[in-house]
Amino acid sequence: MPVNIGTIRIQEADFSIDEEYQRLRVAHPAQNGAICTFSGLVREFGDNEGVTGLFLEHYSGMTEHSLQLIIDQAAARWKLNDVTVIHRVGQLNLSDQIVFVGVSSAHRADAFAACEFIMDYLKTDAPFWKKECHDQGDEWVEAKESDRNRTKKWS
């Protein structure tokens, strides 16, 4: 049986990309040839202009379970050494970090592809919900057809 790889953290606190990168780097010192990282940030335009922040809600328990399934799928598809997924919840401000995906592998092609795959599936399958805060009030973000299409292209 393959061993499940991956570290999943759902947290209100910020994270350090450098610390997460170093953790991936030293975990498999002789096997890593490539580490690919992605981070997603709060920006001032989304469904609305003039966004001042985001509120993020999640389904505790199911979130971790669904992220592990996504990592397992990636590990079955590409040769990966390790994966870290961090997603923040609660109140976030402009330019705050929301999400981190880091993938280590022997080869860059596997690391690039797995990082994008995990992020695409996270957007459509993991139970997180964003609410945009702006001057006129707060509004829940609508799910996007473009995100669903990005996930579909992997199947």
Partner: protein, 82 residues
């Protein structure tokens, strides 16, 4: 049975969670949804959304999924994380 609601649905229903001691004849997640919809507003219209998602025991399911009194159901809108 525990039933959870999230995000816009949680706000529209003003309900995060409820506990059912009996299923009142419900066999599937869809039967539970039908019973919730008979409560009148805001339940009937909020739970009538085109793209309402349902999970049973924290796995994405559908309205035909069989349920038991020990299950955890959740209803929520399409996800928007990342």
């Amino acid at each position: 049975m525990k039933i959870l609601f999230f995000a816009s649905l949680r706000e529209q229903l003003n309900t995060e969670e409820e506990q059912w001691e009996e299923l009142n004849g419900a066999l599937t997640a869809g039967d539970i949804l039908s019973q919730l919809q008979t409560r009148g507003e805001p339940w009937s219209s909020s739970l009538n959304a085109d793209r309402l998602l349902v999970s049973v025991n924290q796995e994405i399911s559908n309205l035909k999924t069989k349920i038991t009194i020990d299950d955890e159901l959740a209803f929520f809108p399409p996800v928007t994380g990342g």
